[in-house]
Each structure stands twice: as C-alpha cells, then as structure tokens.
Amino acid sequence: MVLGVEVIRGQPETKQPEENLARLKSASANSANESEGLLNTRDLRVVALELAKSVLTKRNIQRVTVEYEARKQAIINNSDLTDGQKKLKLDDLNRQLQAEIARIKQNEGVGVMAMNLWLEQRRIYKALVNGRLAEIAGQDRHIEAVCRLIEEAEMKYSRMQNPPSGRVIRIGSEAFNKSRTFADMIITDNIWNSKVAAKFGASAARSFARVVATGASLGAVGGVVGWFVGAAAGGIGGAVNKYLQLRHEVARGERDIALGLQEEGELGNYTASISLSSLFQKLKDKDLVNFVIDVNKINAALEKGDLALRLDSLDGLECLGVNITDIDPGRVNVLVYLAVVQLLNVKRSEILGQLSGEERAEVASAKIDDFVNERLKAARDRRNAILNKGNLWEIGIAGGIGFGAGAATGLAMDTFGVRGFINEHLTSKVARGAVRVAEISQEWFKNHDIAEYWVNIKEQAATIVNNIIVYYNQGSATSFENTQPPQNNTSSSSVLGSRFYSTSNGTDSTQPQNHTNSGGGGKPLLKSYIPASINPDFDTPNLPDTQNPEFQPRLWTPDLGWMEGRLTLAYNLGLLVRQDDDLKKILDELDKGDQKVRARNVAFLAEAIQRESIRTGQDRTSEVITLFKKDPEGFIKLQQKWIGDRISEGRIKEMFGEFKAALGDTVSTFNESTLGQPSPLLNRPLDTYEIIDNYGGIDYSGQIEANQPPIPEVLRESYRPQTNQNGHTEPTGFVTEFDQSSLNSEQFKKQVEQLYSNRFFLERKLLAANQITLRQNNNIFNFKVDVEYIVEVIKNQNGENTIITTGWSKLNSPESYNEVALLSFNNAEYPVLNTLSEGVNNIGPNIFISGHYGDPRGTFNILTEGRFSEGAILTVQSGGEEYEFEVFKVETKKAGDVADQFFPFNNEGKIQIILVTCTDAGGVGRVLIYAQPTEETLLKLQEELRPQGYEQQPVGDDQPSLENSSDLENEPVSNTTPEVYRLLEEISIINLETYISDDLLLASLKPFFDLYSNNNLELLPGQLENGLREGKIEPDQIIKLHQIIDLAKQRAEKDSLFASNLETINKSQFRSYLRTTYPDLGSLHTVKPEIEELIALKTLVPQVLDCSEIYTEEDFSSIFGGDQSLGFPPLPKPQRIPDTSYVFYSWVDLHQFMADFARLTQDPGYTQDSYDKITNPLINADFGLLEKYIHNLEKMSELVNHSYLGVEQNRNVLTRYVENLKAGLNSNITRWFSLLSRIVSFNS
C-alpha cells in the first residue's frame, strides 16, 4: 500500500523510540501521587509522537516477524519441496518481510502526522487525511477547525466512489487566498478576515475602478471619482463578490467545500485553553469518536508499565499500521491521539525533567499562554461591557448601508460579468492608471486603518443582515428591538475594541463570531441572536439526530449554492416548512433561484424535511414528494448523497420506493444498479452507541508476547488456541460443514415447524433473555442482556404489509469486560443490521452481536473467530429457564461479503439463531454462528407454548379439518398458577412503559383473551392474590393485569363478534379454514406472515372494526384508493374471509391509513388540488359510507384510549383526523349535522 506521505517540516528531532519509551515507563511507574499536576496537551506533544512511533513500529514489526517465522518454518518443513524450491520461497518470503517492515516504518509517519494534525499549532504543516494528502495551510488552528477538517474530509471522501489521490485541503484564511489555484477543498476560518477582505477588496477595487476609469476616458472627472468610490465600495463589494463567487463555484460543482469556520472561545488562545475533556466532548459531538477512555483505568495500566500493550488494545491503532485506507481515518487519528495523550497522563514533573531545552521552553510557553489568556479574557469582557454602550445602531445602520451597496456592487459585477469584460477588453492606459490609483488608495486606507474600519462596519452590517434573515425566516421581520448582539464578542459588538487585539499568531480577531456566512450547516450558529420569546422552539434546535442510524450528523451546506444561507438558517432554527406557507415559499424560491442548482436545493430540502420528520415523528413524505416533483433530479441527487452517507442499500431502496412510486415515470434515471455497487462507505456502521470505560484494567500482556489476540481476563485461562497442521493458529475464513442428517427426521421437522409457527413466542423469549452464552470446550463467550427496547415495524414492500417484530437489546458481558450489542430479529427496518447481515434477514430470529470499528466491540471477532465451530452450544437464559441451541455452522465473512442464505430449512421457514459477531470494518469482517434449538429446547418450548393456546401444529396431510377438529377443540387449556406467572412474565417482558405499538401490546394480551374465551377468566383473580401473597407477583403487575382484563371484558361485551367468534371457532378450525380457503398455501410456515397476521386479526379485528358493517373492496378503494399521484401507494388489498361477511382490515393498516390521511389533509404544503382530491371523496361520498367510516373512527378511539401505550400520540392522530373531517364536512353542515355532532362529542 502506498500512501501519500510527506515528512512534516519543522519537526523536532526525536530520540530513539526505545529510549523514549523507557523513560516514559520509568516516569509512569512512579506516578503514584495523583495530586501532582498533569501535563497539558502541549507538554505531551513531543513524547507522544515518539511513543506512538515506538509502539506502532515495534508492535507491527513484531507481528510480521512472527508471521514470517511461521511461514518460514512451514516452507522448511514442507517435504514436497526440493531444497532449491525452498530457497526460492524463503528468499521471496524474506523480500516480503522486508517490504512489509518498510511499509510499517513508512506508515509510522502517518501516525505521527495524524497526531500532528491535532497537536501542532503554530506551524504550516502537512498531514494525511483520509489516506490522501491534505495540506493544511494557515497558522493558528483551533481544535474546532481540525474537527471540521476531519469531518468534512470524511464527508468528501465518502462521496467519492473513486477518490483521486493528491486531493488538497486547505485550511485557514491564507488557504482562502490560495484556494482558487490549488485547493479542491477549502476550509477557512473566516472570509471576512480583514486580510482576506483587504486582498479581495483590492482586487475588486481594481475592477471597479476600471469601470469608472473607463468613464474617465470620456471625462476627466470620472477617473478621480472612480478610484475613490471604487476603492471604498469595491473594498466591501469585492469581498462580498468573492464570497458569492465562491459559493457559485461550489454550486456549480467546481469546488467541493467552501466553509466558513467559527473560531470558538478566545482567539489566539487555543492550545492551552482546550482541556482534554472538552476535546473529548467536541470529538464526541462530531461523531469522531465513539467512546471515551477512562483515565483511571489507563493509569492503572500505566502503573504496570504496560504502555505498549495498552495501545494495542485499540483497534484504531492497529489500522494505522496496517490498513489505513479501509477504515475511518478520522477516528483513527483521534483514537491514536487520545490513546497517546491518555497514556502519557502522568505527572508533570517527571516528564519535565526529561525534556530537552526546546521542549521545556514549549511547556513554559504554554504556561505563559494560559496566564496571559486568562487575563485577556477578563480584560476583553470589561472592554465589551464598556464599549457596547452606545453607537451600535449608528454603526449598524451605516454598516448595513455600506454592506448593501457593496454586496449589490459585487453581485452586479459578478452577475453581469462586468469585471471579466473589463479585464479582457478595457486595458487602456487610463484604466491602468486608475487601477494604480485605486491600489494606492487601498494602501492608504489600509495604512490608516480605515480599511479595517470598513471591515468592522461591514461586520456590524452583517450582524444586522443576519438578524433580518432570522426574522424573515421566522415570519416576523417587523422589529429589531429585541435583537441583541452576541455578548463577549469583541468583533461583533465593538468596532473600536476589535482592532486592538489580535491573536497570538497574527490572525486578526475582527471576525464575527456568529454570522450566517460561516456556513456551519447543521449547527445553529445564531442562537445567541434569537430571543427565546420570539421562537419558543429554539431551545430545542434541530440538531442532527445521532441516535437515528439513517442520518449521520454531518454538514451538507456546500452544495446549496445561493440558497444555502437562508435555507440552512431555516433548517438550523427548526423552522423549515413549519409554517403553513413555508413549502410554497420554498417552491417559489426554487423557481426564482438558480435553476442549475435547483436539483441540489431540492435534495437538500428533501433531506432536511426528512430529518425534521424523524426528529418530530411526523410523517412528511408527501412534502418530500412534492419537492421531488418540482425537480425530479433532486431525487437522484438525494439518492446519491444517501449512498455517500452510507445509508444501507436496503434502506435506500425502501425509502425511495415510495418516492419513486409517487414520481412515476418522471424519474427514469433511478439508478438501482448504483445501489448494488459495493461501497466502502457501507463498511461503516451507522449506529452511534457509546461505550464508556471499556478496558477495565485488563492485562493483555501474555497475549501480545505470544502474538495472540487480546483476550479478556475472564476468558484467558480457558483460552486454548486451535492450531492447524502447520502448527499455528487457525487462519480466518474456515467454514465448518454442516451435517444435515441429524436434522432430517420427520419428528424434528415437525418440531421446528411448530416452533416456527409460534415465532413470536420464541422471539419474545430471546428478547427477554438475561444472558447468552456461547460455549465450546473451554471457550466461553458470555453476555448479559439488558432489554433496551422493543419495537414493531411495518415493512412495506411490493404492496404487502408485514408486521415485523424487531427487538434491540443491549448485551453487556459480565464483570470487567463490557460490550454492547444488538439483539435483533427480522431487522429489515434497520440498515445497520442490514449492512451487517445482508442475506440473513427474514429467516428467523437472529442475534447480532454487533461491534464496529473504533470501539472494542470488535474484539468479538477476535474472540469468536477460529474458536467456535460446529457443536458449540449457545445457551439463552430467559425467564429462569435455559434454552440451548447447537451451532451447526460457523463462517467468517470479510467486510463487504454477503452472508449465504445457508440454512437448509430456510425455504421451509425453520427456526434458527444466527449469532453474528463483527467489527464490520477494516477488512476484519464478521463471524456468523448458526445455531438451531436442540431437541430438548424444542420440547421445552413446546411445553411452554401449549398452555398458552399454541397447540401442536400438525404437519403434512394429517392436518385437521373443520370436521375432525373436535379433539383439538377439547384440548385442555392450562389455567394453573404457573401459567399465570408465565403470562405475567410475558407482559413484563414487554415493558409497558416502553414504546411499542398497539398491535404488539394486543398480541401480548392474546393469551388472556384466549383464557377468557375459555371461560377461565374468573380463575385469574384468585391466582393473582395467591401470587401476591407468595411474593411472586408485584402489585403493579396486578394493576396492569386488571387493566388488561378490564379491557378484555369491555371488548367482549361490546363486540359480539369477539365473543361469538371465539366461542364458535377455535384456532385449529381457523387454521383449517385457511387451508381450505387458500389450498395453494402448502405448509403453513411458507406463508407465515399471512398466517400470523390472520391469527392476530382474529383477535384484533373485532376490536377495531365494527364488523356488522360490511365493507366491500370497492368501498375501500373508492375512499382509500391509493392515489399514487398524491404520494402514497395503494393500501393493501383487504382480506376477506369467504363464507363470512367480514372483510378483515388490520388495525395496523387502518392506523397507517389514518396517519396518511391526516397527513395529506392537514399538510400545509399541499396544494388546493391535492387537498380537494382528498376531501372531496369524503364530502361527496354517500352518507352511508361516510357514516361507516366515522363509526369506525369511534371504535378506534376506544381502542386508542385503552391501549395504555402511545395513547397521546395516537389520540393526537385521531384528533387531527377528526379536525380534518370537521373541516371537510363543514361545507355541507346541514347535511352532515348528525355526523358532526357525533364527531364533536368524540372530540370533546
């Protein structure tokens, strides 16, 4: 691997790594007294670099050497080779070794540079970012800027399918000057910097002067006036013009990034003012690190003199020496830095005594920086307080006028190409003379601080303009009385004071701290400008939803072109499309704006709305579709961006499926093939779990020396590495073949089928697991499980709705080895799991123990890889019981591989558990462990299932019919006390305080309904009392149960079908009935979703619909017809049970419809036509049909009010729905009076 590495200029000479490491170990070994001061960041710089080099190089060379020796011995011992062949192979092997060592040494520089990215503060230096050369020009760099560099570089890299080498990134105001020629990406702290403004001002002044001077050639006076006016106006206008020009370049795709940075805190007070904790926080906030290392634990390791080995425990560090292009460099850099800094968190005096003169001088200099900056801050606060007293308005107004004039000038020049025309054609002596005069004038202004004065005026103007924009976006741009400038902000609040203090390296401090033009998209930069009374929502700004796996927090402002400022502001303030006419305004803006970038703007807006939708929980798909209809290319743009953002393929397809359906033929270029392309970006997991304190003081020393992967202390004693025939550790990638013979018995098939048919039960068992253990011989892999949440999702593909249960649990391994993982089932909805398990979805419960690069969860891979094989036992402890699953296959996948749909019974729907351990990055891949229940477990589950009403499920031709089902009907239903406990356990598993859908809740109540239907309900209270006395039941469980029973009673009393149907048709009859109805179904498990849904409907539907009313398919389609032009697909076809008058329409489907309906009718973004299409059918529908619908609404409201969970949310949906109905009916109040009265009574 060849990396674009350049040696950092100006690096101090370092001592030999061994020497440095030795002294650090010596220092750390004596660091018992923690009361002494710790070194600050700068103190650590020199030794940190050396340490990193030493550890990385030594460890990696050791690793390859050990591998070399093993391969060498294999060659020597190979009797099939002649001596000559052996010699050739050994020579070749030696060359490989030397090349590898050379590469490691080369990459050593990478690590050094990566750390310098963080540590070096005062030099122009070069660093490697994303494996490509990035030049960082500029001087003082706040850590914030570096964070942004990493983030932006990462984003840029993510967008490139084939990223070119040698991309240049520039940072800093100087970089801005040079950017036109050299940089692909510009990151500058502030283009309003006076130096920049002066430079561009001079440039623009020349152009402007040319214009005027041209006139001067016709009249002598023009030249004199021209250069003066041109210098002044151009000084401002030029800067504005340059800024806009840059934006245009970005918009046209000529440049990737033009981002104004916000310097935080004290300008010029960078290094010393940044505490380690704040650095961590910043990095965490930006999703650059996933975990924080516990300092105390690191210190504990330090006391053992185990620095090098501690470093080895970081996955990221490994990648520095091995595979930097395949991992996430931003994280790597951070990890390395943090690791080193933490490792060196030893006492100051011990380090100081060993530093060279220059190093000690730097330490002292940092101390002085701290001292002066602290005093400076106090002085600045006082100065601001004094100088802010007056003249702000005067300055602001003048500045606003000046700014406006300048902006207009710059815009005009840029828009009409005046400057270019002049540059090319008007080069007369007069013009040149005028230019010279303008330059002289500019110089004069500069020398007399007037240019700077103008810059300050301009800043004040920018502040006011910002406020205008804010007010405009808030729709209340009527008053400025409440507008307050930011406090503690010299540059923005004080014209006078700003010019007296500059940063310690010469960067001018006259930069506005908070202005819109900084372009910090995704971050509400104007918070301090917004009185909370104006925007009550401002306290909850629309920050990126880091918990949502679909959307990584990142900036995306550069593509926005001319609309960026406004829209970003609106987005940041959470105002986007929040008001009634906002969407219309934006559509109008799109029409008026630059059509060349319209698609990008559409894509941006669509994503912003999606984000807002996720944040608020409101479905706003229709708005997105409206936008896409405005410019279908925006659809493609967003698709491309999401691919770049590493949203999983499945999720993209799913999300765009709806859009595509709505857009129809207007988007012919929907590039699904692109989605199928392997993307390095997909290697990065999308979850954002955070682990704290992962290391626990574990001593990994033995494993390192033996070249073995680190093993938790709890497992180390039992670790017995498997060896292959060559005498070393089993290589990765082996697959143990599965002997299917033991699973082919008819009995086993029946058991599996039966169990699968009750999949919900098993899944719930797994979700309730409190411990999962993987064991084989002496290898034990142990997790504790804490259920985090359970959700139910609706997968809508190919026009079919399927209820899918997905559970996510947090797995914590015991003792000092903490891990987090996801326990999930049928994870079609969640891209992170899709990414990990393409191909293994929907074939049964899967356990995903998911780690990802950058945190120690990746250790799972190391632990499981090569250690477990066929025959291993996976034990799930749940509800006091143990369920054993036998591993029948283990396979290792490299990153990007798709897991095989291996399981032989897959097509028959057999049950299995797949334990997936993975790091999903860096080429490590994942290990999939396939397990199936042992026969004992099957029997145990059967026993547990039977009393709950899940009777034995026959297989094959001996299935029961309605005629011979009497035996099954008479099958006793257990109502023993243990059964009640088990049911209670079921309820407690589904935490009623946690969000779950009503369907899942009701599904959990099914056993109670079954008991009730068998007239056993009266037995429950007595059993409960006994359980309470015995301490087996908690009082709140009793309360919940009584609530449930009450609900069941209400249902039974109110819904005749509930009672009558359950009395007359038991489940076996129901299934037999389905077989008759659907003769082509074959085995039940092949249609499990349908079966399960229908089984669920048997309980649910009577509570949802008044089935005494007959809904025909035509009825539904006439109302809910699924008008694709309105942005939602047709609802699934209602399922009719033959020989009955009932059309079963699931609660879920109806709920979804109502949500869609409410959305469409309420959505302010819809046109009148769209609204009419929705409302007219209701208004014009025949009375009876509408009445049925309202009746249905009433029934639903009852259910919602008793659903315990999500009541408010669902009630809001219903309330909105009612409001829409009212609005729709209002046009014919007389005719619908009776209906309205019912609605009003409901709503009240």
Binding site: G357, R360, V363, A364, F371, R382, S502, S504
Partner: protein, 109 residues
C-alpha cells in the same frame, strides 16, 4: 505598542527576555531557536502589558484611550495620556514585567 505583530523588539525588551531565558536554565541547540523563543515571549509580554494597562484605567479613561488608539495617536501622546491617568505608570509596567517573569520561571519548576 503591543498590538502590532510586526513591531521590532526594543533593545530593552530583548535584554529582559534574554535574561529571562538565561535564568530559566533552558539551553537551546541554536541561536535561531532561541531568538524565535524570545520573539514568542515578547509577543505574549507585549500583550500582557496591554492588559495590565487596561486593568488600571477607569471605564471613562478606557473609552478615551480607545478613541486615541482609533485615530492612531502617536506613541508619545499615548504614553503621556497613560502616565496622566495611571499613577506610577512606570512602576506598574515594571511590576507587570516582573510578574510575567515569575510566571514563566515558575512553569519550569
């Protein structure tokens, strides 16, 4: 006096800072590095003295002082102003330099 990054170090300041480095016991590998360190220290010292001056001006005097700075008042005029407004101005500067020196040296122990 202290807001100009390009201002040359006065001989007095150069001597003060050289003595400071000498007293610190720091040894530099070359003269260039040493001079860079002096320049760095000078910048911070210059900044620090400016802060001390501000701290010793009343609010009104501070505004007046800034106004003088805005119009690019000559150094002599500024000095006269400061000596008028701040009693024992020279002593104040001396004490500030001493404080600076103490902070620097203490950071090395």
């Amino acid at each position: 006096m202290y807001n100009n990054n390009n201002k040359k170090i006065t001989p007095q300041m150069q001597l003060f800072l050289e003595n400071l480095l000498l007293d610190s016991g720091l040894k530099f590998t070359d003269e260039f590095t040493k001079q860079k360190m002096i320049e760095d220290l000078y910048f911070k010292l210059d900044e620090f003295l400016g802060i001390v001056i501000e701290e010793n001006l009343s609010d009104d005097d501070l505004v007046e002082y800034f106004n003088l700075r805005v119009v690019n008042t000559k150094a002599e005029t500024l000095e006269k102003f400061l000596k008028t407004k701040i009693p024992n101005f020279d002593n104040l500067i001396s004490m500030a330099m001493l404080e600076f020196r103490n902070v620097y040296l203490s950071s090395l122990n």
